[in-house]
């Protein structure tokens, strides 16, 4: 399980390789908040290499969304597979987050 952070001209992309679960949720939050501390305003989380997410991982995303918004920034979620979309729909988090089919779509939405 690793997180890959990439800064582009317009945004920061954080890719989750593997699961986002109780064992690595804090590391994930630390990685994203470090980017925010460096001035990231437009943050997108790339799920194209993500397996599954548990309730801790979903909670981490909710928490980060609040923190980023408080600083005037925006968070987008991109490239969720069918399973991950099912989780967001079950928990109604698809009403809280903007879910985009691809990283390119998410970047274009900022």
């Amino acid at each position: 399980m690793t997180f890959v952070v990439e800064q582009t001209e317009d945004s920061w992309r954080v890719a989750i390789h593997g699961q986002l679960v109780v064992t690595n949720r804090q590391e994930f939050k630390d990685v994203v908040l470090a980017a925010v501390e460096q001035g990231a305003q437009r943050v997108l989380v790339d799920f194209s290499e993500t397996g599954y997410i548990d309730s801790s991982g979903l909670g981490a995303l909710v928490s980060l969304n609040k923190r980023i918004r408080e600083r005037g920034g925006e968070l987008r979620l991109a490239a969720l597979n069918e399973d991950l979309r099912t989780l967001f729909e079950l928990t109604r988090l698809d009403t809280l987050f903007e879910l985009h089919d691809s990283v390119a779509d998410a970047v274009a939405s900022f």
């Binding site: 699961q19 679960v21 109780v22 064992t23 397996g51 599954y52 997410i53 548990d54 309730s55 801790s56 979903l58 909670g59 981490a60 909710v62 928490s63 069918e82 399973d83 099912t86 989780l87 079950l90 928990t91 109604r92 988090l93 009403t95 809280l96």
Partner: protein, 148 residues
């Protein structure tokens, strides 16, 4: 620490059993072993990718963090039985359990969506066919999912 896997006396079920410390680092090995047994038993791919790992992660994590208050010395006992008909996993901790109805009611509240926690039990119910709880020697959550 995992106890040895064994064949059920009926010859058609796989039994897996663990007695683990209350440490979240222990969760993934349990989840991956049960998932692998489901794959070997021919469970549908989506069930093996999503329902089983997420619901089981929630149940074991809940037992460690809530049931045993994260006290490492308090054990969690997990027993899984996988066959061609269904998966059944019992997770037993030393806690006093939780009020399933109260949890269900909280999920109906508006602020539940924007909260940072409180989705674990909901996900167990959503992703399994049946979730049962009882108190005997500790508190047990039983997850049941039929293969077909």
């Amino acid at each position: 620490m995992p106890l040895p896997a064994s064949e059920h006396p009926d010859g058609r079920s796989t039994l897996l059993e663990w007695r683990i410390a209350s440490d979240i680092a222990e969760v993934s090995a349990v989840v991956e072993a049960v998932r692998a047994a489901c794959i070997a038993a021919g469970y549908p791919p989506k069930v093996c990718r999503l329902n089983v790992p997420v619901a089981l992660t929630e149940a074991v994590t809940n037992a460690i963090k809530c049931g045993n208050a994260g006290e490492r010395s308090r054990p969690v006992h997990i027993r899984a039985c996988i066959n061609q008909i269904r998966l059944r996993v019992d997770i037993t901790d030393e806690g006093s359990g939780f009020d399933v109805e109260a949890v269900r009611k909280r999920c109906q509240e508006e602020q539940w969506v924007t909260g940072e926690s409180g989705r674990g039990v909901f996900l167990m119910h959503s992703l399994m066919d049946k979730v049962e709880t009882w108190r005997d020697h500790g508190h047990t959550v039983r997850l049941t999912l039929h293969r077909a």
